[in-house]
């Protein structure tokens, strides 16, 4: 089975950001630690477990600015077989649809049976690429999968949906996007880390994809970023009647409890 993981490299989720002077974006400098986007890591682990069960290969596909190699090596150490990095700072500025078009172009003709992605990238918060690539490739997709069982020709997936669970049977080739809770990603050990250094990391020039990304009739641009308004410290109730004061505040002042 040929398995591909669409993987994004993002700032560590603990990062405390600063805003650029012109206010159009946050500062991305050397202080930022880059990681596999957490949901993509669950997707990668699920891909590797699928390979271990059914045989085949796992390929990592990443779009980046050229600084992603170290993080991709970690993914290879976890158990992926090879990797492709499409390198272009310009392409990273494409809107979500442009990025989906690049992935779809790159996946064309690879004969991938099962394509994994995380349910959302923790930086851009889009949750777009997995489903959009499926539509562009004309293959089925189910998003936010929290449980799955793969066979040679189909996959049965379960996901949470508005307080209930939905279970789908999907014919391969297909794309699934993965939620937390499906597995516990492994930590690569030293021998795997050493071995990963020799695994293929194919860097491709993004310039060859520019026409693919830009062929839309629409553009989405970020024009400003700011921090959410900070809450000022609230009221602390003390003493024997603390609970009564709280109930009074919630029912009569805020009117959030009836």
């Amino acid at each position: 089975m040929k398995i591909v993981v669409l993987m994004k490299v993002v700032p560590d989720t603990e990062t405390r950001f600063e805003i650029r002077e012109d206010g159009t974006d946050v500062v991305y400098d050397d202080r930022i630690q880059w990681i596999i986007s957490p949901y993509d890591e669950y997707a990668l682990e699920e891909a590797i477990q699928t390979k271990e069960k059914l045989g085949g290969t796992v390929t990592i596909l990443t779009l980046g600015k050229g600084k992603e190699q170290q993080v991709i090596r970690k993914a290879l150490a976890m158990g992926a077989d090879d990797s492709v990095l499409i390198n272009s700072a310009d392409l990273m500025e494409s809107d979500a649809l442009g990025i989906a078009r690049i992935f779809s172009k790159e996946l064309e003709g690879t004969g991938a049976d099962l394509i994994f992605a995380g349910k959302v990238a923790t930086d851009s918060n889009d949750g777009y690429v997995g489903a959009a690539v499926a539509e562009l490739m004309g293959i089925p997709v189910i998003t936010e999968v929290s449980d799955m069982e793969v066979s040679e020709s189909s996959v049965v997936v379960t996901r949470e949906a508005s307080g209930r669970k939905e279970k789908f049977e999907v014919t391969l080739p297909a794309i699934v996007t993965i939620d937390k809770g499906i597995n516990e990603p492994r930590y690569p050990k030293l021998p795997q880390i050493m071995k990963a250094k020799r695994k293929p990391l194919d860097e491709k020039d993004g310039a060859n994809y520019a026409s693919v990304a830009g062929s839309g009739n629409s553009k989405v641009k970020q024009i400003e970023v700011k921090f959410p308004p900070k809450k000022s410290g609230g009221e602390i109730f003390e003493g024997d009647d603390a609970v009564d004061k709280l109930v009074d505040a919630l029912m009569n002042k805020e009117k959030v409890v009836q």
Binding site: T13, R16, I19, V26, Y39, D95, A96, L97, A100, T122, D123, N125, G127, Y128, G130, A131, A132, E135, G138, P140, V141, T143, E144, S146, V156, E160, A161, S162, G163, R164, E166, K167, F168, V170, K180, G181, G216, N217, S218, K219, V220, K221, I223, V225, F227, P228, K231, G233, G234, I236, E238, A242, V243, D244, L246, V247, L250, M251, E254, V256
Partner: protein, 312 residues
């Protein structure tokens, strides 16, 4: 600008997130068409009308009995529009990219504010940063649940026409095998008006009844911190925070939660935050509107009793 909104419904009821998406659509344009999809949606027309909808396109019949991403996306795409507005629910998060890619329209996800008809505010970097985006051309916009007020109510019966979807062989590639309802009527966190969340201070999974009892009195959903989920005390679907769910209920009660940055990122936009924690120095009190510094096993049952007493 022609705007079409997916008025999501389930089991013959328009969802709250669907109505909120309608409210967002009405901020984008006066010319809004509502899309209803289901086996039988005629009963929902007067409800749509009562929320100010003047035009409805409906996809009705056996083909739409069960949710299917491609069939639903096809139905939505078959309504001609410059802008599609879709609620960011489990279905909507799947449908919005499908419609965008199908139509070649731009995409703006998880919007929490409509500035004007082409400018939107959304959260990035796990709610730590607000991003304002501007769109040129046609686009699909997904609306974060729980943020927009419901549309104003009035009277009216919308003009209605049918959406036709031709069945395709490719639709057979996905089959909805089963819908598993939660054991009890579970309220989805992102769509709840009130959430009661427990953290490490609860001490163990067996103690979560103290959280559940208060939640039940309040008609609230139960949430949890990452520490509690990672320890296996609660399922991941309960997790509030950066690698869980982003919520903004009217009332958020945090019990035994210290308030790690990744948890605060998930809930600090709630209207009213109440914190109960033994440690007065814990960061949760910095975002709380009201706090009680005490043992949650004392405070929560007392709170539960006091609310019930006040109601009588």
């Amino acid at each position: 600008m022609k705007v079409a909104v997916f008025l999501e419904s389930y089991k013959n009821k328009i969802t709250k997130a669907g109505l909120e998406a309608l409210a967002a659509a009405q901020k984008i344009s006066d010319n809004v068409t509502a899309i209803l999809i289901g086996k039988e949606v005629t009963g929902l027309l007067s409800i749509a009308g009562s929320y100010g909808v003047k035009t409805v396109k409906k996809a009705e019949g056996d083909l739409f009995t069960a949710y299917h991403p491609n069939i639903y996306a096809r139905a939505i795409s078959n309504v001609e529009a410059d802008v599609y507005v879709i609620p960011s629910t489990a279905w909507g998060k799947e449908l919005a990219p499908l419609v965008s890619a199908k139509q070649g329209y731009g995409f703006v996800g998880d919007v929490s504010e409509v500035v004007d008809s082409t400018t939107f505010i959304r959260s990035i970097h796990g709610n730590k940063v607000l991003s304002t985006v501007k769109v040129e051309g046609n686009f699909v916009v997904a609306i974060r649940p729980g943020v927009f007020d419901l549309p104003e109510q009035g009277e009216g019966s919308p003009e209605t026409s049918d959406i036709s979807v031709t069945p395709e062989d490719s639709f057979n590639k996905i089959k909805l095998a089963e819908i598993l309802a939660a054991a009890s009527e579970k309220i989805e966190l992102t769509e709840a008006d009130i959430i009661v969340s427990g953290g490490r201070g609860v001490g163990g999974p067996e103690n979560f009844n103290v959280i559940e009892d208060l939640a039940s009195t309040l008609g609230a959903a139960v949430g949890a911190s990452r520490a509690v989920v990672d320890a296996g005390w609660r399922p991941h679907s309960d997790q509030v925070g950066q690698t869980g769910k982003f919520v903004s209920p009217k009332l958020y009660v945090a019990a035994g939660i210290s308030g790690a940055i990744q948890h605060l990122a998930g809930m600090s936009t709630s209207d009213v935050i109440v914190a109960v924690n033994k440690d007065p120095k814990t960061p949760i009190f910095k975002v709380a509107d009201y706090g009680i510094v005490d043992d949650l096993f004392k405070v929560l049952p007392a709170l539960n009793d006091a609310i019930q007493a006040a109601r009588n």
